[in-house]
Structure formats: structure tokens, C-alpha cells
């Protein structure tokens, strides 16, 4: 019962709704010009993915620092537009209108001289970057460097890329990908494509580690990326969960949307919008793992991707926190994930595990779980706990031929943030390099990337979707 036809993924709250980002609208209007002169932030309209859209808005310049081992592979990346001749070196040729992205292969970077070469490449090309342009730097793992100098040079890229991300304007982003020595060029492809595309609109200043996919590699389908896969999304009735369900349906998956029975009407609406399936279940119930296992095996013969998105907040300063608030948040946000993951991976040897080989477990954490947040001791503890769980589950998931990852959303425009007090909401929106809140679809695209068949080399990662927020940076 796959969905038929294309789906339009909603881009979050409609303009004009309570809590909508009126400031961004104003700053981009004809009368918004003076705002920039006053030194006020000028949030750009971010380039987001639409079906059929080219990978980047303009050609991608590929450069190397040191003896990169990937340039050839990168230049052959399907759908990658390459720039024409450079007028600076070949007089008489027309200058490019601008670049859609820069990819620097620094996998061979081992000396400070090579680090300087990285600077030279970037500084020369950054000015040619178009709005919502992309900077992707690829490097080897510092801990796998041959000597101390090489490790220092490689890690120096971390500071370089994060700073570039802060200097970029007009919705452009910069991210660093660290490649394990054991990883093949093919293991990198899904990540490079994601970071170059409009799907990573709100992922900025991040460091992602890519290893060898090994048994977690899944054959890439001919059609949409998630064709033929069964995807379970918890907390899918509305908000970020609904956006995740929509993106997977758009990309060809059979999507099971789960939420508590009390959200059943919104859940049915979400499911019917994307042509998926609704499952009403309280994931904190004692028999929830058994019931979910029975459903997944009985109805679908198993599951390929599980997105633990269900979460609640019950904010209160710790001194005023009662048992009910603490227990409810920990039960939904952390304990249920621990118990469901145990059931999904199955008993000893993974027998009767509903999660199929090549599976993807993805948790939605939060920047609150990284940075902490006043009034959210329970929520931050639960989300930090999720991060701890994800990292600790890596070996078990690998043994099962699967991966486990987390995304940590920052300020995302949802009904929940729409209801925040004005000052808190405005501060949350602006304290990041893109000077705006993200949309639920930004989180959804990031989750879908981690779940891709070609993302088997990504595991144990916590990727923030926060526009390089100052919180928890």
C-alpha cells in the first residue's frame, strides 16, 4: 500500500499565523533594507528541497588540500554541475554567475602548509558562492593521523569550518565530514549529496563522521530513495513527526505513523494525507514493545527504519519539579526508546527481531540535551540520555547489520514554539548563524538522510539541525 503520486511536503507554519516569523518577512521586503545597515540580522529565505530540483543552485567547485584521495570520485558524482573555465587563469572567458557549492577534499591534509592551501582555496571561492550556497570540507579522522602535526592540522579544520559557517551569509552553510580510513568513497556519497542539497538547509557548522558501511549497507533502489522500505515514525500526528512521515512517504516508503490514542484523529489525518498507516499506541505502556513487535511482524513482516520522535515537555525549575513531571518526560522521551530498541533489535542473536538487517534506528534528541535549558532539567536529562543511548547502542546495532543515530533539533517552528513568549521565541530564532528558526521539514530531511540506503557508514552520530545555534555549540 505504497502511496500513489507525489506528495508536497509542507514547509511548516503558514505565513501570517500566530508566531510566524514576521521579522524574516520584513527583512526580505523592499522596506527591510535599513535593517541591515542598523547591524540587525538579515535572515535569508533558505533554499529547500523540492522534487526535481537540481542538487545545487549553480556549479560546484571541487578543490584539494594535500593529496586528496576523493577528488576523482567527487567529480564523477551524478548530478553534480561543474564550473566552466576560471576567467582569472583563462582571460577572455565569461565569469560564472556564481557557485552553488564548494567541496574541499582535505583527506590528504597532514601539514600546516596543506592547511594553508585549504584556506587559499576557500577564501578564493567563498566570494563566488550564491545564496544558500554550500561549503563541504572532507578530511581524515584526526585520531587516524600518522603523527601529532598531522592530527593538529586535521583538527584545525574543525575550527576553520565552524568559523566559515559563521561568516557565511544569505543562507549559505559550511559543514565538515570526517572520513574513516576504512570507508570507501561510496560510503561518503549520501552525505556529500545531502550536505550540498537543499535538504540540509538548516544543518550548519556540523561535523559528521563517516565510516565503512559494512553489513549495514543497503542496495540503493532505482526510484525514490526509500522505495519499498517500511518506516515507523513515533509521535507522528503533528509537528516534526508528521513532517518526518511526509518526507519518507515522498521518498517512496510505506510509512507507519504512530501516536497515542488521544491524538488518533490528527494521526489519521496525517496518515491519509501521505497514504500511509496509522497506529494508535501508548509507547509507555508495559506491553507496548510486544504489541509493536506483533504489529510490525504481522502486518509488514518487519521494519527497516524506526524514528523515535515522540517526546513531551513538562517544564518547571528543578526545585519545583514534581514526580509526575519528571516521570512522564523520562518515560516518553527515554525509557520507551530504550525498551522499544531492545525489542526492535530482538533477543540474543537478534532472533525474531522486527528490525530487518540494514535497519536504521534514529532518535530525535534536542539541543537542550546538549546545552541544557533552564526549566527543562527533565527534558534535557531525557534528551541527553537519548544521546548516551545512541552511542552505546552502536555495537549492538552493528552486530545486527544496522545503524543508530540521533538528530538534535534546535529552534524549530512548530505549534509548540509558536506558543512561546515573544522574547524567548525571538531570541531562540536569532541566536544562530542563519538568524531564523528551522522548519519541521529540515529535521525530517536530516532524519531521512541518516536512514538512506547509502548511509550505512553513519552510526553513533548526533547531528544538530539548529542553523549552528550558539546553544550547545
Amino acid at each position: 500500500m505504497n502511496s500513489t503520486g507525489n506528495h508536497t511536503v509542507s514547509n511548516g507554519p503558514a505565513a501570517g499565523r500566530v508566531g510566524a516569523d514576521w521579522y524574516r518577512t520584513l527583512a526580505n521586503s523592499p522596506i527591510g533594507g535599513p535593517l541591515g545597515q542598523l547591524g540587525l540580522p538579515r535572515p535569508a529565505a533558505l533554499r529547500r528541497y523540492r522534487p526535481g530540483q537540481p542538487l545545487t543552485d549553480g556549479p560546484v567547485l571541487v578543490g584539494t588540500a594535500g593529496t586528496g584521495r576523493l577528488a576523482e570520485h567527487l567529480l564523477a558524482l551524478p548530478g553534480l554541475a561543474l564550473p566552466g573555465p576560471d576567467p582569472a587563469t583563462e582571460p577572455g572567458t565569461e565569469p560564472e554567475a556564481g557557485l552553488g557549492g564548494l567541496v574541499l577534499d582535505a583527506t590528504g591534509l597532514d601539514t600546516l602548509a596543506e592547511l594553508a592551501a585549504a584556506r587559499t582555496f576557500l577564501s578564493g571561492a567563498l566570494r563566488r558562492l550564491r545564496p544558500s550556497g554550500r561549503v563541504v570540507v572532507l578530511a581524515g579522522l584526526p585520531e587516524q593521523a600518522g603523527d601529532v602535526t598531522a592530527a593538529a592540522a586535521r583538527h584545525a579544520l574543525d575550527g576553520l569550518v565552524r568559523s566559515v559557517a559563521k561568516e557565511l551569509r544569505d543562507g549559505a552553510t559550511a559543514n565538515l565530514v570526517l572520513l574513516d580510513a576504512a570507508a570507501a568513497p561510496a560510503d561518503l556519497e549520501s552525505t556529500v549529496r545531502f550536505l550540498l542539497s537543499g535538504r540540509s538547509a538548516y544543518v550548519d557548522g556540523q561535523v559528521v563522521r563517516v565510516g565503512a558501511a559494512g553489513p549495514a549497507a543497503v542496495e540503493i533502489p532505482g526510484g525514490p530513495l526509500h522505495t519499498g522500505r517500511v518506516v515507523l515514525v513515533t509521535g507522528a500526528a503533528r509537528g516534526i513527526g508528521a513532517a518526518i512521515a511526509e518526507v519518507f512517504a515522498r521518498d517512496g516508503a510505506t510509512v507507519v505513523s504512530l501516536d497515542v490514542p488521544a491524538q488518533g484523529d490528527a494521526l489519521a489525518a496525517t496518515s491519509n494525507r501521505i497514504g500511509g498507516l496509522a497506529l494508535q499506541l501508548d509507547i509507555t505502556a508495559a506491553d507496548a514493545p510486544d504489541r509493536l513487535t506483533e504489529y510490525l511482524l504481522g502486518r509488514h513482516g518487519g521494519v527497516d527504519v524506526v524514528v523515535h520522535n515522540a517526546g513531551i515537555t513538562r517544564d518547571k525549575l528543578l526545585v519545583n519539579m514534581d514526580d509526575a513531571r519528571w516521570d512522564a518526560v523520562l518515560a516518553v522521551n527515554l525509557r520507551a526508546q530504550l525498551e522499544l530498541n531492545a525489542a526492535l533489535l530482538g533477543g540474543v542473536g537478534g532472533q525474531d527481531a522486527p528490525l530487518r538487517t540494514g535497519g536504521r534506528l534514529i532518535s530525535v534528541a534536542s539541543t537542550s540535551g546538549i546545552a541544557g535549558n533552564r526549566g527543562q532539567t527533565n527534558y534535557a536529562a531525557s534528551k541527553a540520555g537519548v544521546i548516551g543511548m545512541v552511542r552505546a547502542l552502536v555495537p549492538a546495532a552493528a552486530g545486527h547489520g544496522s545503524t543508530v543515530n540521533a538528530v538534535a533539533p534546535g529552534f524549530i517552528e512548530t505549534e509548540m514554539t509558536g506558543a512561546m513568549p515573544f522574547g524567548t521565541r525571538e531570541a531562540g530564532r536569532r541566536i544562530n548563524s542563519l538568524h531564523q528558526g528551522g522548519l519541521p521539514v529540515d529535521v525530517a530531511e536530516t532524519v531521512a538522510w541518516l536512514a538512506e540506503p547509502g548511509s550505512g557508514g553513519l552510526t553513533g552520530q548526533v547531528v544538530r539541525v539548529c542553523g549552528q545555534s550558539l546553544l550547545g555549540a
Binding site: M1, S3, T4, T254, P261, A262, Q263, G264, D265, L267, A268, A269, S271, N272, G275, G276, L277, A278, L279, Q280, L281, D282, A285, D287, R291, G298, R299, H300, G301
Partner: protein
């Protein structure tokens, strides 16, 4: 001819909205609204968006004239394929179960592979019509061809004609309400107040317990802010019920607002199909419909109680199947009134009734009361007339699937002296 060899229709699942109290949560919802949303919940549960099903059969007891082809209009408003045919059925409170039987029979004969049965009713959005005198004047005016004829028709207008016709919960042939009829039967069978109240408490407690253990998670979808049936009282107790005044049967009556079903709004649906259709979609089968029987009694002149037809239908069906009353793991007897359930059970235990009226050699027998309405019934859930059959069939099918084996009996009494009964067997 193998194509038309009868097979048992599979009951795959169900969906209903929580039943609301008259004038409550669904006061502004129409029958079409409720049936459409119940269908959409079923579509979401089973991934049926844009599916062309064999048919959808549903109905309502209280129906607006604008709701001609209510079911087809609801299908068109739903996420099902618009190429899914639909028709309306109306058989008083037997409507819901009768639609299940109709769809199941077509599946059994191979005429369709899948279908949805259902029902809906609203007493909050009930049809109020122009009074008959005024209607005749308006029809005459409509047919008048000359100015003179029109004026003559208009001259017949009278102030009293503004009083509308309200739908009544009364039998057209006796003028008695259903409650008054049931009170007569309760008195005849000497059904006591205490046992009626006990049955009522059990209904509420069983329904509440079923909700608490998540039994209804895949049977009910919330609607308009209602998550559970509005009339459910988890704390129901006989002491509180004993304080209520009788509402039927005069001052000495035993029937109260507590042990009679409340007027309700709601809708229910049941997904049926052939085993093959279900298997192709990876849908587990909960139960099969084995048999069904409808009976009618002469409550006008024949001296039988208005709601006693199931007492006749069940023995006929059992005889055909070679079963006894004891051969069931679950009994789902619709609780129009607590006294109706008890009078039916009393009749089956009564030698005179069973020999003289049913033509049996001996009493039909007793049932194990621990197997009766174990997930609650109409006294607690409410009773939107045509929606009750779908509620019961989906509930019983799931009970059988949980048990993994066994057989269940459904018995539903209806106005007009009718009764629809059926047998379900675990898949």
C-alpha cells in the same frame, strides 16, 4: 463454478468514533460528518487510501431527507477511491449488523472481495420536518398551474401548521415508547431492579477496563475532543444506581435512566474481505462470519414483547449450525435496556416459552454470565442506533482474535419487533 462456491467472509478490523451523549460533543456533527470520519479512520488504520473496495453498506435510523444516499456521499467525502460503490440500509437498531451480513454474504458468494459495513446515528442532529398539514399545502401549491389554484392552496395555510414534526422514539403502531414496551416485557418476565443494576455496573466496568488495557486502541479513533464514550462511568456502582427513580413502567417500574441505554450520537465501521484479499495486503484476519439470522415478532397483536425477536432468531440459527447455546466463548447481547438482555436470557431458560413459542423440546439453556459483554456494551458505551452493530462485531472479532480460538454470538434487538443475530468464529 468454484468461483461461486460459498466461503466465509473475514472480519479484518473496525473503526468507530467514541459515542457521544445526545446534545454533547457531536451536537453540531451530521450523520454524514460522523460516518465519513469513521471511514477515514478505518482507511488510515488499514492503509486503504485510494483503494476501490467492493462496496460500502451503511445506514442511519434517524435520517434527514437530504441524506438520500448517505453512505455513497460519505464514501465520496472519504479517502476511499470514489470508484467504491455504496448503498444505504435501514432496519432500526439491526441496521449495523444487517450491513455486516449483507457485505459478508457478497464476499461469501465471490461477488465482491472486500467491503465496509457500518452505521451512524445522531439524536442531536435529528431530522425535524414540516408538519403534515403544511406539507400538503406546499405540495398542492407546487402542483398548482393557475393563479387561482395557487391562491386556493395558499388560503389553506393555518398558524398551527408552523409546529414541526419531531422524530419520536415510539412505535408507530402502538404509540408506546421503546422503554414502555421493554417495561411491559420486564414485568412479564419478572426482571428485578437489582439484577438490572448489576448488569449495568458490569457493562460500565468491563468497558472501562477494556479501555484501560488498550483494547480499543485499534478500534476507536477520537473525534471532536472525545477520546472515550461520553456515557462511560468507570465508577458505576449499584448503590448509586439504586437511588435513581424509574422512568418506564410507572411508579412501580424497575427501569431507570441508569439501566436503560442513553440516547447517543456516533458512527462505526467494520472492514470485511475474503481471506485472499486480506492476505494480499498483509492484513491479519480477526474472525469469520459463520452465519446470521433475522427474526420478527408480532408485538402488535401477537402478545410478544417488542424486543424479543432475538429470542426466536438465535435458536433457529443454532439448529441450522448444529450448535447449542453453551457452545460459545463470548456472548454479545446488545443492551438496549438491561431488562432486555435479562428477559432474553430468562426466555431461553424457560420451558414453557421454549416449547410453546420456540417449538423446542426443552429450554434452550443458560449462558455462562462471565462470557457476556466482556468488553462492555451499550449501557456504558451508548447506543447510536445504527452504529451499535458495527461496534459489537468489531469488538467481538478482536476478542476472538485475542483468544486465538472459539466462537461468539451476537444478538441485537430492533424496533418494529425485529432482531438480527450472528455467529463469529476466531480465524
Amino acid at each position: 463454478m468454484t468461483r461461486n462456491a460459498p466461503r466465509r467472509a473475514a472480519i479484518i478490523g473496525g473503526n468507530r468514533i467514541p459515542f457521544g451523549r445526545a446534545g454533547g460533543h457531536y451536537a453540531k456533527a451530521s450523520n454524514q460528518d460522523m460516518l465519513t470520519v469513521a471511514l477515514d479512520g478505518l482507511v488510515a488504520r488499514f492503509g486503504l487510501r485510494d483503494e476501490r473496495l467492493g462496496e460500502v453498506a451503511a445506514g442511519a435510523v434517524l435520517k434527514h431527507s437530504r441524506d438520500r444516499d448517505l453512505t455513497r456521499e460519505s464514501v465520496l467525502g472519504s479517502r476511499l477511491s470514489p470508484a467504491t460503490p455504496a448503498y444505504d440500509v435501514q432496519q432500526a437498531c439491526g441496521t449495523g449488523l444487517e450491513t455486516v451480513v449483507l457485505v459478508a454474504n457478497k464476499i461469501a458468494l465471490g461477488q465482491v472481495e472486500s467491503g465496509i459495513a457500518g452505521g451512524v446515528d445522531s439524536v442531536s442532529d435529528a431530522p425535524v420536518s414540516v408538519n403534515d398539514d403544511l406539507r400538503r399545502v406546499l405540495m398542492e401549491l407546487n402542483h398548482a398551474r393557475t393563479l387561482g389554484a395557487r391562491l386556493a392552496a395558499l388560503a389553506k395555510l393555518r398558524p398551527g401548521q408552523i409546529v414541526p414534526d419531531l422524530p419520536r422514539n415510539a412505535e408507530p403502531r402502538t404509540g408506546l415508547s421503546m422503554g414502555e414496551h421493554a417495561a411491559i416485557t420486564a414485568a412479564e418476565w419478572e426482571i428485578g431492579r437489582a439484577e438490572q443494576d448489576e448488569l449495568t455496573v458490569a457493562s460500565h466496568r468491563n468497558l472501562a477496563a477494556a479501555y484501560d488495557r488498550g483494547f480499543f486502541d485499534d478500534l476507536v479513533t477520537p473525534y471532536l475532543g472525545l477520546n472515550r464514550d461520553a456515557t462511560l462511568r468507570p465508577d458505576a456502582n449499584t448503590a448509586a444506581l439504586a437511588r435513581l427513580k424509574p422512568v418506564f413502567g410507572g411508579a412501580g417500574g424497575t427501569m431507570t435512566a441508569g439501566n436503560s441505554t442513553p440516547l447517543s450520537d456516533g458512527a462505526s465501521t467494520v472492514l470485511l474481505g475474503s481471506d485472499e484479499w486480506a492476505a494480499e495486503r498483509g492484513l491479519p484476519v480477526l474472525a469469520h462470519l459463520v452465519d446470521a439470522e433475522t427474526a420478527a415478532v408480532d408485538y402488535v397483536h401477537g402478545g410478544e414483547g417488542l424486543l424479543m425477536a432475538p429470542a426466536y432468531a438465535v435458536p433457529r440459527m443454532l439448529a441450522r449450525q448444529g450448535l447449542t447455546l453453551a457452545d460459545f466463548d463470548f456472548y454479545e447481547i446488545h443492551e438496549a435496556f438491561a431488562s432486555t438482555v435479562l428477559a432474553t436470557l430468562a426466555a431461553w431458560e424457560d420451558k414453557v416459552f421454549c416449547t410453546e413459542r420456540l417449538g423446542l423440546d426443552a429450554p434452550l439453556g443458560s449462558i455462562d454470565r462471565a462470557r457476556l459483554n466482556v468488553a462492555g456494551s451499550s449501557l456504558a458505551a451508548g447506543h447510536p442506533f445504527a452504529a451499535t452493530g458495527g461496534r459489537i462485531v468489531a469488538t467481538l472479532a478482536k476478542l476472538l482474535a485475542e483468544k486465538g480460538s472459539g466462537r461468539g454470538l451476537v444478538s441485537i434487538c430492533a424496533a418494529g419487533g425485529q432482531g438480527v443475530v450472528a455467529i463469529l468464529e476466531a480465524a
